[in-house]
């Protein structure tokens, strides 16, 4: 059975439930009964507003240390080209035959990888509608790794942040068993709060991206007798490369 399309806007009321007005007025009545003023909330100010202070060097060290502690790998490359060669070596070492790339310019990398016999597909080239998604993604084995440029990296957490966009697919950092993220110097921030503030500003300017994901180390679970296991659903291997120089 095929799914119906997105089609014209739906009437929410068609799905039943209560009207927004009824629902909120019940809440309002309760709150007003408790003496709250619910019109123009002013947010409570707090003492925990310290801004970014660390130097690039401090951030880089902290990021790498934190990610490695979480079971990821972290490298520094003095140039893009060095980074791409490092990727090639990492992939060859793991016997990865094909990769999927997304976000940013990968043409130089592609040449290096293809020369080494690694198939490269770009997210821009992958064309699938949902009907085909199962089949395409089910063959994800052909992508032993997802390569992407991170939108942000968070030093305090060892997190890699990715914003969805037409050129940055969610699946790239999700479906393959290995994820390699390249991080430009300007993408590395000290705190998660900075990322959230940036994205909030971005949202005000031109709408919020459809998703923001922070990836903090490999996929893990402790659901079997509290015993740590890696790579449950998401990638079991996470590699970050800080790409330095111009």
């Amino acid at each position: 059975m095929t799914l119906k399309g997105r089609g014209p806007a739906l009437d929410e009321a068609h799905f039943g439930g209560e009207s927004q007005e009824e629902f909120l007025s019940r809440i309002r009545a309760r709150l007003q009964g408790a003496g709250y003023v619910a019109d123009h909330p002013s947010f409570p100010a707090g003492p925990l507003e310290d801004e970014e202070q660390a130097s690039y060097e401090q951030k880089a060290e902290r990021f790498m240390k934190t990610l490695v502690e979480l079971g990821g790998e972290a490298y520094r490359a003095p140039s893009r080209e060095e980074a791409f060669r490092l990727i090639r070596d990492l992939l060859l070492h793991r016997d990865v035959k094909g990769v999927l790339t997304s976000g940013g310019d990968w043409s130089q990398c592609r040449a290096i990888l293809e020369e080494a016999g690694i198939a490269v597909e770009s997210w821009d080239e992958v064309a699938f509608s949902h009907g085909e998604a199962d089949r395409e993604l089910a063959r994800a084995d052909r992508w032993g790794a997802g390569l992407l440029w991170a939108d942000y990296a968070v030093a305090e957490l060892g997190s890699i942040a990715v914003l969805s966009s037409p050129r940055q697919g969610r699946s790239v950092s999700l479906v393959p068993p290995l994820m390699i993220a390249l991080i430009a110097p300007e993408a590395l921030v000290e705190r998660r709060r900075t990322v959230l503030r940036h994205v909030a500003a971005l949202a005000k300017e031109r709408g919020v991206p459809s998703s923001l994901t922070l990836i903090t180390g490999p996929s893990r679970s402790a659901d079997i007798e509290n015993d740590l296991s890696i790579g449950v659903h998401g990638p079991g291997q996470v590699i970050a490369i800080l790409v330095e120089g111009s």
Binding site: A38, P166, L196, S211, D223, N226, D227, V232
Partner: protein
């Protein structure tokens, strides 16, 4: 539910050594993780206070923020539905599924869906429902309910899990973690790729951007919101923050308190359907905002229960939970927060007795990252039960008598004297050897001292009042200064 049922479940749990061992191991891991995590902050207490203030502010302006959230979700191309009851919420999801012709559903963890028995309803409509959190998946296969907010299957042993997976795969399996994890990965990968619809819970919605935040360690939250064509999010109406940046503090409090982690492996903040030109992500997004008794708590002494961020820290530290696990509490929420929420959501009349499953030690309140005074609330629930005459008549009579006697010192003294006489037949070697119910249950496992021949006030009168004591030469300053300071 009757009192008998609660006691029966507790006795059952206490008799299950394997369960108790598993619960203790898991909660010890969680709580020691948290204890280590908290040490990394020198301002943890200030962070708790700030988190409390953020939650209090949000709840005090809940109508405002929910309206903002709804507007933003629609702006992002999503749909918003409001359900005042669990039945309404179920009906909405069924209609959404029907509208899109959904045959199979991949779910990431949602406590609300447990509240409203969503899975059963969807199955009635012929829809396959798969829980994708490993722990939830295990208990779904076992036909059980979660026993812990963070570790739903922490009561299952690896042998039991291997047995469940072996049935699924039609082959025998070894019980090591990598083998079992690989089975789950393979089975569930197929689910993610073929499900028509994803259903998620909601750790925090963000009013400012119309986003839903999911934290998972496995990545199933990402899978469910990235791969199926339709995504439905069920959120309890209180699970919201005003601004994107408020997530920073609350996520820290959540993961630090839950497992001790700085952050979970995945924090997914998704904001509606895929945008034009995007190749993955859902084509349609529906947000279902659920009340289901929550609004009845607003404006009452229990309002702060709505501040809960579902970290499970109160379970891990609770000496009662640690003995009996989650199922004994009888509903989806367990531990101290469950003993408060269950009566509030389902009625004090029927469920008030769950609040008795606490020694009022206050460890929950101390552990809570948003400082919910759970021990006070447990007393509050007991008070509601008593006021609605849901407690045993004998107990009401006892406490009536207690208040009456303690108000009258003469009577109290007379009772002490009478006690010394009346106890005689039941005392041997200074210990009671028999006592009437309900004291008899004490004597089953513990000795109870008899009343001594003279109480303190007798000693005071007969000798102590006249005694003099030699004064110690102590080093420290005497408290005269403090006394003057008080103007006494």
């Amino acid at each position: 539910m009757s009192k008998g049922a609660l006691l029966e479940r507790i006795e059952g749990a206490l008799a299950n050594d394997r369960l108790r061992e598993a619960v203790k191991r898991a909660t010890n891991n969680f709580r020691s993780g948290k204890a280590r995590a908290v040490l990394e902050y020198d301002d943890w207490e200030a962070m708790r206070e700030r988190a409390r203030a953020v939650r209090a502010h949000t709840i005090a302006h809940l109508d405002y923020y929910l309206a903002q959230l709804a507007a933003k979700v629609r702006e992002n191309g999503g749909y918003v539905h409001f359900a005042s009851t669990g039945e309404q919420a179920v009906e909405i999801v069924r209609k959404i599924a029907r509208h899109y012709g959904v045959k199979s559903v991949a779910k990431s963890k949602s406590m609300v869906s447990e509240e409203i028995h969503l899975n059963d309803a969807l199955k009635e409509d012929g829809i396959e429902v798969y829980e994708t959190d490993l722990g939830e998946y295990i208990i779904q296969l076992a036909g059980e309910t979660p026993s812990h907010i963070i570790g739903p299957a922490l009561h299952k042993t690896r042998e039991e899990i291997a047995e469940l997976f072996a049935q699924l795969e039609g082959r025998t399996l070894s019980t090591d973690t990598p083998t079992l994890t690989a089975v789950a990965r393979r089975q569930l990968r197929n689910v993610f790729l073929t499900a028509d619809m994803g259903i998620t819970g909601c750790n925090f919605a963000v009013a400012e951007t119309g986003s839903v935040t999911l934290v998972t360690n496995e990545g199933n939250g990402r899978m469910v919101t990235a791969l199926p064509r339709i995504v439905v999010t069920l959120m309890g109406m209180e699970r919201i923050v005003p601004r994107l940046e408020d997530l920073d503090l609350l996520l820290t409090m959540l993961t630090r308190s839950a497992t001790g982690q700085r952050a979970t492996s995945y924090t997914t903040i998704f904001s509606g359907p895929r945008r034009d030109g995007e190749k993955d992500g859902p084509e349609a997004f529906h947000l279902v905002i659920v009340d289901n008794q929550r609004s009845t708590i607003l404006g009452t002494e229990f309002e702060e229960a709505l501040h809960c961020i579902r970290c499970g820290a109160c379970l891990n530290i609770c000496p009662v939970y640690r003995q009996i696990g989650g199922h004994a509490y009888g509903w989806v929420y367990s531990g101290p927060i469950g003993a408060v929420l269950t009566p509030l959501y389902r009625g004090v009349e029927e469920w008030g007795e769950v609040a008795l499953a606490s020694s009022l030690c206050g460890a929950c309140w101390e552990a809570c990252p948003v400082k919910i005074p759970l021990h006070d609330m447990l007393i509050g629930i007991r008070r509601e039960s008593a006021e609605r005459r849901r407690t045993h008549p004998f107990e009401r009579w006892i406490f009536r008598g207690f208040g009456w006697m303690m108000h009258r010192p003469g009577l109290y003294r007379a009772a002490q004297r009478a006690g010394r006489w009346l106890q005689r037949p039941f005392v041997r070697d200074g210990r009671f050897r028999w006592a009437p119910a309900p004291l008899s249950s004490w004597l089953k496992t513990r000795t109870l001292p008899a009343l001594p021949s003279k109480g303190f006030r007798d000693l005071w009168q007969s000798e102590l009042t006249k005694q003099r004591e030699p004064r110690l030469a102590v080093k420290a300053a005497f408290g005269e200064q403090r006394e003057e300071g008080r103007g006494a």
